[in-house]
Symmetry: C2
Subunit: 392 residues, 2 copies
């Protein structure tokens, strides 16, 4: 499954020694014949933009949205590395281009891992030709493994649709991301492939829309990374498709990957689906949802399996959005716990059981208007601190 | 010391049973003769405003800025309690007024603790007259103890200055606050007294300015409470003072209390003084400082005593302020760890020793302009999670 579920795409993953642990750390996704196809990307808005992001943007601009391969490494973000980091990212593209037979501009590059350390280029340089030789039509899972950092399981997805002439098209994806996840994307990488026929503007439009309702509705810790990248390669081999259907399925694929990220976020014990309705506008709903999802105190109460609605109300009240204490309604697991400025009677056993599960559903109605938003997030645990308190 | 270091003010604290633990939970600060003096307040901007905050604001408006007493309870915030909560807050003022001989409008009220539970008014009603009888000119520390929630030590301060006619004036304070602390104030209460002669506008102006450079430069977890209140009572008994000197000393008193809050914040092991310089504007400096101070990942690295500048740079890059990776300089403990897009050589032993201390100094220069800001914050520890994962 994954990116190689789509006919015409190949992938591979290997260990080249970027990670001291010896785990897989170098991946490649490419077209089977090395010829370029339509390509689109969505990137971090962090101004401390990492060199691989700058190089990938430059290459997409130079080709007008075409690429034949993506080369990715984990274990080192090649971020805050200045001119040397730019040269390293370009070199990864040059070597990949030589190995698969395209131009360097037709190669995109992603890095993820620690910020601020030079890439061990000697190891990457010697590994790229071998990795290109390993590219195969069942290499997608290996690529997914090789981009993992603190992820504990690889993330892949595949969805299929029907083309305009009655055939089948496929969308496949691999992704990584376990912390520094936040709307507007943060330390998450995803590469999606498809054989649907799209032009470059359609590919870019569909990808932006899909990211908006998936990765950008995910927050783990509110931190936004220097390296976030989502790429789409579209070969067109399956022929023309209905735009609506394609856009919907691409969003489904991205949502699937985003929820997998939450389910395996660093140290998390809960995946929380937070829906805000009744806001004055969708924008205000999203602000309230995001602030609440990123609140340390709220995250602690989820870890404690405590349906403490007081913190939810306080956070919505602090979000700077239209708000009236008299009209807020808060429900956990479908049970209203607070409404009309009163604690509400609940089925305690059912509520306790809901809070004890991996998935928590939290619905907040602000009673102000028709604005709504959805976000998926996680709790804050001891293990999160343990994973992030030291770089080594 | 504390509020009763100022001649003409009395205070008391007791346990009335709001806290199940039996710890002190009811406090009073008043003028010795029950007559009203100039009063000013600064309050939370959380729209889930707690009834005691609403009542205190109403009373200050009704009297034009005069009060004879403040009654405070801990263990229950009387927040999100609707009309019943308003009646309870008013009742606390009525009973206090009867006990000390002033009008109910001349009493201010504060509550802190859990959100969303009715106050146990029977216990408070019977305790207020007794508490008023205990008011004494050395009761400040008892009042400071009785407003503690998860604070481990009471917080008091006293500063003195010289009046225009060569005498001495005093500013005293008590405060509480251990979590939900954030610029714009959050679950922190402070009552300050002085015998300086001020009119109501001068008192309000001085208090707002002092809060702006003290409590509003403090963030523990980015959460903003429903109950934050800072009050100033000014008797005028010491006579006229120089406004500049008074304003400076009031700011000193508030800063002293704010740093005490950081030093004893829930579960914290580090107090971090973060200075941002070289921002395009002071506002942008403050945005970068606040976002960085509230970043979970950054807080974890402080807990781990890891001077990981990559996270600092990434957070500044994500703050939405003018930023150029080429010009950012980051220093821990006075040692530059990153500049000119390069990790810098440091005295490792000295840096390790600095990171191991209770106080960490972090300086970030953005190289964009002359804007600067200062913030005091804390790390994120296992103990913080333990204190906040359950309400009971």
């Amino acid at each position: 499954m994954s990116v190689t579920a789509v006919p015409g795409f190949v992938a591979a993953g290997t260990a080249c020694g970027v990670k001291a642990s010896g785990a897989d750390d170098l991946a490649m996704v490419a077209t089977a014949d090395g010829s370029p196809v339509i390509a689109a990307g969505v990137f971090t808005s962090n101004k401390m933009t990492a060199p691989p992001v700058l190089v990938t943007r430059k290459h997409l601009a130079a080709t007008g949205g075409r690429a034949a391969a993506v080369v990715l490494n984990s274990g080192n973000a090649n971020a805050a590395t200045g001119a040397a980091g730019m040269a390293d990212a370009e070199m990864m593209c040059v070597l990949t281009a030589e190995a698969i037979g395209c131009t360097p501009d037709e190669v995109l590059v992603c890095s993820t891992g620690l910020i601020g350390f030079p890439l061990p280029m000697d190891r990457i340089v010697s590994a790229i030709p071998t990795l290109a030789g390993d590219l195969s039509d069942d290499g997608g899972p290996a690529a997914a493994r090789a981009i993992m950092t603190t992820d504990t399981v690889p993330r892949t997805t595949t969805v299929t649709g029907t083309t305009l002439d009655g055939g089948t098209f496929t969308i496949g994806g691999v992704a990584k991301g376990a912390a520094m996840l936040e709307p507007n994307m943060a330390t998450m990488l995803a590469v999606l492939t498809t054989d649907a026929l799209l032009d470059a503007p359609a590919a870019t439009g569909a990808l932006r829309a899909a990211v908006g309702v998936s990765f950008n509705c995910l927050t783990v810790d509110g931190a936004e990374s220097t390296n976030d990248t989502v790429l789409l390669l579209a070969s067109g081999a399956a022929g023309p498709v209905a735009a609506d259907q394609f856009d919907g399925l691409l969003a489904d694929a991205c949502r699937d990957l985003a929820v997998q990220m939450a389910d395996d976020a660093e140290g998390s014990t809960k995946t929380v689906f937070l829906t805000v309705t009744g806001a004055a506008t969708d924008t205000e709903a999203a602000k309230g949802a995001r602030d609440t999802a990123n609140c340390q105190l709220v995250k602690c109460s989820w870890y404690g399996e405590d349906p403490y609605w007081g913190r939810i109300a306080a956070e919505m009240g602090a979000a700077g959005i239209a708000f009236d204490p008299a009209t807020i309604t808060i429900a956990y697991g479908g049970q209203v716990v607070y409404a009309a400025e009163q604690v509400q009677p609940v089925d305690e056993m059912a509520l306790t059981a809901h809070m004890a599960g991996r998935r928590i559903d939290l619905e907040v109605d602000l009673g102000q208007g028709d604005g709504s938003a959805w976000i998926v997030t996680t709790d804050l645990s001891h293990a999160y601190i343990d994973e992030n308190m030291r770089t080594s």
